[in-house]
């Protein structure tokens, strides 16, 4: 039984080490888009309340025809490095299929050669963190071919802060207190009632 177990284990180990396929690499994308947004450096936005405007378009310094393969543009909300520290679930990885930097989609639009813009109310499930905006251009096969972002290559400039909702509500707090009180009081009630019953039957 032990030997078959060890054989099975080693077979599993071997198959575990097989690599999975890679997706598109971020480093292979060209930064041909210019993305600008209304947030200024260090500005604080409230989730669910504040709006921001993002505009994007092809960088005119690139030769005409570079955008021939672009079919859709997706603008995403991305974590700045300071919000990625000690948080492996937001890690930047070169392989785009594994990259977790940009987790929120702002807008997806078909590509057009003129500049476009979009006004977005920051959603209520966006957590408190520091962000920048990035737009990806996709081809007809929905594979990333180019990008543009509001910050520099080191992701150090033009970052802004979003203050997420707390998720707490007064009604929830009150319900919580009521249920807790019920629990403690009913326990005390039972205990006292049983003690009284035991005492009265003992006295009989």
């Amino acid at each position: 039984m032990a030997s078959t177990g060890i054989l099975l284990a080693s077979l599993l180990l071997l198959s575990c080490l097989a690599e999975t396929s890679h997706g598109v690499l971020f480093s292979s994308l060209k930064q041909t888009l210019i993305v600008t947004a209304s947030p200024k450096e260090g500005q604080v936005y409230k989730a669910g309340v504040d709006k921001l405007t993002v505009s994007w378009g092809l960088n005119q310094s690139f030769p005409a025809g570079s955008d021939s393969t672009y079919k859709t543009i997706k603008v995403k909300f991305c974590y700045a490095p300071v919000s990625q520290v000690d948080r492996g679930w937001r890690k930047t990885v070169d392989s785009l299929s594994k990259d977790k930097t940009c987790q929120f989609k702002v807008v997806a639009r078909p590509y057009s050669s003129s500049n476009q813009s979009f006004e977005w109310t920051i959603e209520r499930d966006v957590p408190s963190a520091t962000y920048f905006l990035r737009a990806y251009a996709y081809d007809a096969a929905d594979v990333e071919v180019a990008y543009g972002q509001t910050t520099d290559a080191h992701k150090a400039t033009n970052l802004f802060v979003v203050q997420g909702i707390t998720g707490r509500h007064t009604s929830l707090d009150i319900a919580s207190i009521c249920f807790s009180a019920f629990s403690v009081l009913s326990l005390a009630g039972f205990f006292i009632a049983e003690k009284r019953k035991a005492k009265s039957s003992h006295e009989k």
Binding site: C16, D86, T166, S176, F179, L187
Partner: protein, 530 residues
């Protein structure tokens, strides 16, 4: 001839001691049935049930069993309720990996102390009030999750909810007042295993509840707080059921029966001394930390691991994580059963080998789980890891009753505490730092399991031997009576306080395996059937 009920192999004369640690029922000649008692199940002279009828709700024995394991299950649900929702909570509260890891450590640490206190509470107030007090006083801590707004609050609330795991003690204590000691092994093992399933059920329940609340319209950062009301309400419901439907003892409640006082109490200091000076206690404390301990740690990290590593949806990660904990339904009893089977042929050596094999295989599959790059292989490795670790828990408690007769309670308590301590330690070392990924943490934990299981090779019983060594050649020292009698001094032996230990020693001769028939009569003891 008296009729024989129960499992095959139970001797008519009851003296070959082939009773298993886990048995479904006790035959009549071995433990006589009290004919005057009017209970649904046959009972012994203390009115403890002799039969374990799983699907009955008969008052008071089986009803107690079900109330007890479901209360323990509920506490497991609430202690690990945060784990499958961590992907949402970590964004709401802006947690770092250290914060999440520390909260996980806190969730299992609280019960180390509360379990020690619970023993005393059960002695004073009875197991029914012990259970009800804990479960109803920890309900407010579950509701407190709605107030949490930062890492500190999250850690504090998880620590306080973790106190409720002391229901393990009230559960086992309550079972021992209701069931005969010959079947208590299986009863307690089943209750413990099914209670532990709560750690798996919660991974299924909480994402489901979260999903439903989200569909009704709540935003995620509020929905997870509302979801915690479900385990909180379960606490209140179970507390009320325990108070209204439960009773401390087969004949009634504790206060009424405390007047009797016919159980001679042992000296706590002596019992503690014999527990802590027996080296085997500490080896099993370590071992349980790497079977139960890693099970608790995995309950805390596995859902988040699958969510992040394989990009699954929250409830998919929850379903996979749930299969880990739910395997307890059969895996833990299987471990006990395997231990008993091995003991039938090879005695205590078989039990020790069974434990080593199960726990080491669990460790190997844990290494595979961390290294797996594809989802099907990861799930497969996780299932095998869960069976290995949980069966090892069951096998551990197949051996613990034999370490000591006098100090069994304290040794069981220390072993249980070792489980929680092991869990806290592994979470602190492997899952609280950003130095390596969770996947690497799992593999390293697997390596540590394999290493920390090796000390079982050092466990040696003079009367039965160890994994590699035969029993002692000394005629006196190689008897069970000598080993269990050594816990009592001459004065206590004169008073006859060691009689129960001697009876146990005689029954434990089954741990010699197939060599029972050739066991010599020990020189200084009088056989009880003369």
């Amino acid at each position: 001839m008296a009729e024989v009920e129960g499992e095959p192999g139970s001797s008519m004369h009851g003296v070959t001691g082939r009773e298993q640690t886990f048995a479904f029922s006790v035959a009549s000649p071995i433990v006589p049935t009290d004919p005057t008692a009017k209970f649904d199940l046959p009972v012994d002279s203390e009115h403890k049930a002799k039969v374990f009828k799983l699907f009955s709700l008969a008052n008071p024995h089986m009803r107690t069993f079900h109330l007890s394991w479901i209360s323990f299950f509920t506490c497991f649900v609430s202690t690990f309720a945060a784990a499958p929702l961590v992907p949402i909570i970590r964004d709401n509260l802006n947690l770092t990996k250290q914060d999440i890891g520390n909260a996980g450590v806190a969730s299992v640490s609280g019960s180390i102390f509360s379990r020690l206190v619970m023993g005393a509470v059960c002695d004073l107030l009875g197991p029914r009030y012990g259970c009800a007090f804990l479960i109803m006083l920890s309900a407010p801590t579950v509701f407190c999750m709605s107030f949490v707004s930062d890492a500190g609050g999250y850690l504090a609330v998880r620590f306080m909810i973790g106190f409720s795991l002391a229901t393990f003690v009230s559960c086992q204590y309550w079972m021992s007042t209701m069931f005969n000691s010959k079947i208590i092994g299986l009863v307690n093992g089943t209750a413990a295993g099914w209670g532990n399933m709560g750690g798996g059920a919660t991974q299924l329940l909480m994402p489901l509840v979260f999903d439903i609340i989200g569909r009704v319209g709540a935003t995620p950062f509020t929905a997870w707080r509302i979801a915690f009301f479900i385990p909180g309400c379960l606490h209140i419901i179970m507390g009320i059921m325990v108070l209204t439907l439960g009773q401390d003892l087969p004949d009634g409640n504790l206060a009424a029966l405390q007047k009797k006082g016919d159980v001679a109490k042992d000296q706590f200091s002596k019992v503690l001394w014999h527990a802590i000076t027996n080296y085997r206690t500490w080896i099993f404390v370590l071992l349980y930390g790497y079977s139960m301990g890693v099970e608790l740690s995995t309950d805390n990290v596995i859902a988040e691991y699958f969510y992040d590593r394989f990009n699954l949806k929250l409830h998919t990660a929850g379903i996979i994580a749930a299969t880990f904990g739910m395997a307890n339904l059969v895996a833990r009893p299987f471990g006990g059963f395997a231990s008993d089977r091995a003991a039938r042929y090879f005695g205590m050596r078989g039990r020790l080998w069974t434990l080593w094999i199960l726990q080491t295989l669990g460790g190997v599959f844990c290494i595979c789980l961390g290294r797996a790059n594809s989802l099907p292989i990861a799930v497969f490795a996780m299932i095998l890891f869960s069976v290995g670790a949980q069966a090892a828990c069951g096998a551990t408690f197949g051996i613990i009753p034999f370490i000591s007769r006098r100090s069994l309670g304290i040794i069981s308590g220390l072993t249980g505490a070792g489980g929680n301590f092991g869990s806290g330690l592994t979470q602190l070392v492997f899952f609280s730092s950003s130095a390596f990924s969770t996947a690497t943490g799992l593999s390293l934990m697997g390596v540590m399991i394999v290493c920390c299981t090796l000390p079982v090779t050092l466990v040696h019983f003079p009367q039965w031997g160890s994994m590699f060594l035969p029993p002692s050649k000394d005629v006196v020292k190689s008897t069970e009576e000598f080993y269990y009698g050594a816990e009592w001094n001459e004065e206590e032996k004169q008073k006859g306080l060691h009689q129960q230990s001697l009876r146990f020693a005689e029954n434990s001769r089954s741990e010699r395996g197939r060599r029972v028939a050739s066991a010599p009569t020990p020189p200084n003891t009088t056989p009880s059937h003369v």
